[in-house]
């Protein structure tokens, strides 16, 4: 029952985050510069990536002395997703559900820049929930209700996709997510990192930060009930970068939970309070967490907190709610965030 061994695992995950989205082989050098791209497959003819953010920018270098024609495939994309190659918008080669491909011709020893067409700062919506785990068996019910939602662009998943992070569970999650019409951006839960490499392989980075339509979204990896030193340092820099933006922070385990006896908060109260104080200092506008299989709405240092673990995992009884998710509307120009609860049961 000594969980202090987990403190090294968080450092390993943080180290892995650095290399995600980067690839170098004998043919190409691929480097993600903004946003999140998780490399699923790469050879000299094709590179397939899973987007971990609505927008991204990357550079691809042809290391060979021959021109290369590369099929560039990206999954988990927004509706209407378009990219520019060296500043010129290109048409897609193929389009499937949440996936598109393009043909890239990269001259010998040349580099091309690839970036999504930027979205304007405007109001939008997203969905948020966490904790599927054993609920994957009945998840079609949740999928049906998710797909009924309109005026939402993506889903933030708040951690604990699986029970034991084994490959069969991740496969089921992938199959379930393929039925959802929206892209899904995830933060890891404590159950997801029992085999952290598998989580990274499927979903990419654990801690990251990106901007969409003028709103900053930041995920911090709290799956070990604490943050690694490098995550702390990154988080502080992201806070400063986003100080003039509407900033939404999401993670799996809340630093402190409203009813503190369930163990659903970080291992160090000092660290938790420091995180909250820093977040408040730099104007975080809202926080979303999972881990507890219920719904709690409270505040931490004045920051509204939405704790939603209603994805179907072992539900808490007598709390007045069963499976559910949150529908969030954001207006970045007014820094306005509105949250409504959508019940599945």
């Amino acid at each position: 029952m000594v969980l202090t061994a987990c403190t090294d695992l968080k450092d390993k995950r943080a180290s892995k985050d650095v290399v995600i989205g980067q690839l170098e082989n004998q043919y190409i050098n691929f480097k993600t510069e903004q946003g999140i791209l998780n490399i699923v497959y790469a050879d000299q003819n094709m590179i397939e990536l899973r987007a971990g953010s609505p927008e991204y920018a990357a550079k691809l270098t042809n290391k060979t002395s021959n021109d290369l024609s590369i099929k560039f495939v990206v999954s988990n994309i927004l509706a209407g997703h378009k990219i520019q190659i060296d500043g010129t918008e290109v048409n897609e080669l193929e389009q499937m559900d949440k996936k598109k491909s393009w043909e890239l011709v990269v001259l010998a020893n040349a580099t091309v820049s690839i970036e999504t067409v930027q979205n304007q700062t405007e109001a939008f919506g997203f969905l948020a929930f966490g904790d599927i785990q054993n609920g994957i068996e009945d998840f079609d019910d949740v999928v049906n209700v998710l797909n009924q939602q309109d005026q939402v662009d993506f889903i933030l998943f708040l951690g604990d996709l699986t029970m034991n992070s084994d490959s069969e569970e991740f496969q089921k999650i992938e199959e379930a997510f393929a039925k959802i019409s929206l892209p899904i951006y995830s933060t890891p839960g404590n159950h997801d990192v029992r085999d952290a490499d598998r989580y990274h392989a499927y979903f990419g980075k654990a801690s990251y930060s990106w901007t969409y339509k003028g709103v900053r979204f930041t995920s911090v990896d709290s799956a070990s009930w604490t943050l690694s030193k490098s995550t702390w340092e990154q988080y502080k820099s992201w806070l400063q970068q986003a100080k003039d933006q509407t900033h939404i922070v999401f993670s799996h385990i809340a630093p402190t939970e409203p009813f503190g006896l369930r163990g659903g908060h970080w291992r160090s109260r000092r660290e938790a309070n420091a995180f909250i104080a820093e977040s408040s200092r730099w104007h975080v506008d809202a926080m979303f967490y999972g881990h507890l299989h219920t719904l709690d709405i409270y505040s931490l240092a004045g920051i509204p907190v939405y704790l939603s673990g209603g994805g179907g995992a072992f539900q808490e009884y007598f709390d007045g709610i069963e499976r559910h998710f949150l529908k969030v509307g954001v207006n970045p120009e007014k820094s306005d965030i509105s949250v409504s609860i959508i019940r599945v049961d």
Binding site: V2, L3, T7, W232, G260, R269, A277, A301, G302, I303
Partner: protein, 372 residues
């Protein structure tokens, strides 16, 4: 979170799966022992005398499957069924306590309404089960039949201490804490005061605690009994822009194991469980106000006075309001090993290391006196 319950059930299954073969093995071992005319008062007539059993066999007791998990099995193997029964009954009481809390927690999915009564039961049940098992194995393996009484340097009335804690709180860029304090035991009361400060001087923590002994046990040890504690602490955290006021309440039990077997008089077990209520006063540009939340405290300590000058201990702590707080998580705390040694009359040095990858180390110097 539910995996903890599965682990608990697995432990029970293992316990049941091993007790039967362990008993068979132990009875075979006892059958080969020679009888002695000198009987220990706790031994039954048909059991071989303790003093006749070759001491060099006792080291095998912890190797027998189940001995670590079944309180009493170790003393049963040693041929002390009466003491074994006392341990076993206490252990079963602990299991029942933990199960009562755990089952309710599990059936309700850890509903808010049941958390407060059930989680302390689980914590208390599991820690007492573990400490009884450990004491059973240590007592059966290492002790002979005669109780030993030491004029102890360790339990005097007034204790003053300095502790140095090496712990890396990188979110505060701090590596170590100094702690000074004292405890005064008088009549049936105890007062504890501590002041902790990090080496950079920007985290300062004051702690006060008052304990009242509500019931005595067997009075074989002057601190033995059941206590209720109440306390207040304040922390100024200039790094994190907040201060915290905390009130805590806890129940604590200190038991000398002579209650289970007279040869165990040098072993003390303490258990505690309680609640802390925090009031966090944030001082950030965007928020200047107070928020509150609660937390658990708990743990156990099993110490063995080996000699007048030496007292090792093993313990488990779940505590969130000091530098130790970095090590605990949810329901789970961290184990530690402690060694106290008397340098000279009334002066002690102790060192404590916390298990796992915590990289926390504590060194303390303590002085004690006894009232005339």
């Amino acid at each position: 979170m539910k995996i903890r319950y599965l682990i608990f059930i697995a432990g029970i299954t293992f316990f049941l799966a091993t007790i039967i073969p362990s008993s068979i093995i132990s009875k075979s071992a006892l059958a080969s022992q020679t009888q002695s005319s000198e009987k220990h008062p706790d031994a039954t007539d048909h059991s071989p005398s303790l003093s006749s059993q070759p001491i060099n066999l006792y080291w095998t007791i912890p190797l027998i499957p189940g001995s670590i998990f079944v309180p009493g099995l170790a003393h049963y193997i040693r041929g002390e069924p009466k003491i074994a029964r006392r341990f076993f009954r206490s252990g079963m009481g602990s299991i029942l306590t933990a199960l009562t809390g755990g089952v309710v927690l599990g059936l309700t999915g850890a509903a808010d309404a049941v958390i407060l009564p059930t989680v302390p039961l689980v914590l208390l049940g599991l820690t007492s089960w573990f400490s009884l098992s450990f004491a059973d194995v240590v007592g059966a393996t290492l002790f002979d039949s005669k109780p030993k009484h030491y004029s102890s340097n360790f339990d005097l009335d007034l204790e003053v201490f300095y502790r140095f804690r090496r712990i890396n709180d990188y979110f505060f860029d701090t590596n170590a804490y100094h702690q000074v304090g004292g405890a005064y035991w008088f009549d049936n009361k105890v007062i504890l005061l501590t002041l902790e400060r990090n080496t950079e001087g920007n985290i300062i923590h004051y702690d006060s605690d008052f304990g009242l002994r509500l019931a005595d046990y067997y009075s074989s040890h002057k601190r033995e009994g059941f206590y209720f504690h109440i306390g207040y602490s304040h922390e100024d955290n200039l790094v994190g822009y907040y201060s915290v006021d905390t009130i805590h309440y806890k129940a604590k039990s200190i038991l000398n194991l002579a209650a289970l077997g007279s040869h165990l008089s040098s072993i003390d077990i303490s258990h505690e469980v309680g609640i802390q209520q925090h009031f966090i006063n944030y001082h950030t540009p965007n928020f200047d106000g107070i928020e509150s939340n609660t937390g658990l405290i708990g743990g156990f300590d099993l110490s063995w006075t080996v000699a007048n000058w030496l007292k090792p201990a093993v313990g488990y702590i779940h505590e969130r309001d000091s530098s130790i707080s970095t090590l605990t998580s949810g329901f789970v705390g961290v184990y530690y090993l402690e060694l106290k040694a008397a340098l000279a009359d009334r002066y002690l040095v102790s060192t404590r290391g916390f298990l796992g990858n915590s990289k926390v180390f504590e060194l303390a110097i303590e002085s004690s006196i006894q009232r005339k």
